[in-house]
């Protein structure tokens, strides 16, 4: 059977849901970040496959910008993680609950 766009989309969907579940389950901030990256990759796959289906460059352009923004986001996010985690080691996302009511 031939690979239609639907397959790619399905793959992206599975990847996205794996990423979501990972984000909610893991406590280590860095691994949570990596799950976010998984989700972004799923989105990238979606864009490119639909762009290819419609024979339009728009999908790839979108992926380009997603990539750039993801890079910037990772930079800032990791700087934040460094700034917070520097004081205390062995912390995870659950320990940052000062803003709780």
């Amino acid at each position: 059977m031939s690979i239609t766009t639907t397959w790619y989309l399905l793959l992206a969907a599975i990847l996205f849901s794996i990423g979501t579940t990972g984000l909610l389950v893991r406590r280590n901030p860095l691994i949570m970040f990596m799950c976010i990256e998984l989700m972004l990759n799923a989105v990238n796959i979606t864009f490119v496959s639909i762009g290819s289906h419609l024979n339009d460059l728009g999908g790839q352009l979108a992926v380009f910008f997603v990539l750039v923004v993801a890079a910037a986001e990772v930079v800032i996010g990791l700087a934040l993680v460094v700034a917070i985690m520097r004081r205390r080691s062995r912390t995870n996302a659950d320990d940052l609950k000062i803003l709780g009511g």
């Binding site: 989309l9 990847l15 389950v25 890079a71």
Partner: protein
């Protein structure tokens, strides 16, 4: 042929993803992440987006994951977290439900949709072959979307500056104290640090 490549890369991607979320050791997660990213790059090549595949490998797998590894080693967060305990009650089941429902929704959309996914053409530029991909993408970027490109440049600059600011160790306290005693104490501290 295409099918085989697709299936193999799909297997690679999904196993890598599962590895990311299930590993205890963060370094292992990072490596599994690299695996996923490579798989996605292969998928891009399959879809004739060669430039993007290259960028994916260079930027994502080459830079971002390295960043992750640096931070892991810098901070020593490589100690394993206890995956058996879940402090927030109901989080795990709900997380699984959430993931499943997202997949379910997309599945529903794909099944119910008549005529497959449709959408309007945005860029109105046809995709060429794989060999021309860079050229066409470059042309499109720097003619119609040049403004966005400049903005991304600005964004990256801001991100770099922000990262530098965020991670500097404060040499002086941010809030200046009026107490001379405290000031003196601080100076003593710094002297000590300088001597180390």
């Amino acid at each position: 042929m295409e099918t085989v490549v697709f299936l193999i890369s799909a297997a690679v991607i999904l196993s890598g993803a599962l590895g990311v979320i299930f590993s205890k050791n963060p370094v292992h997660s990072a490596l599994f992440m690299v695996q996923t990213l490579f798989g996605v790059a292969v998928l891009f090549v399959l879809l004739e987006a060669t430039f993007l595949a290259a960028i994916q490998v260079i930027v994502y797998a080459g830079a971002i994951v390295i960043l992750f590894v640096f931070v892991i080693t810098l901070l020593g967060v490589d100690r394993a977290e206890d995956l058996k305990v879940e402090p927030i009650s109901g989080q795990r089941p709900l997380a699984v439900v959430l993931g499943a429902s997202i997949f379910g929704i997309i599945l529903t959309v794909l099944i119910v949709a008549v005529g497959g996914p449709t959408g309007e053409q945005v860029a109105n530029t046809p995709i060429g072959d794989a060999s021309d991909n860079t050229k066409i993408l470059g042309e499109a970027l720097f003619s119609t979307h040049v403004f966005s490109v400049e903005l991304t440049a600005l964004l990256l600059t801001v991100a770099v500056v922000g990262a530098v600011v965020l991670s500097t160790r404060p040499t002086k306290p941010l809030i200046s104290t009026l107490d001379k005693q405290q000031n003196d104490n601080l100076e003593d501290e710094l002297e000590e640090k300088g001597e180390e």
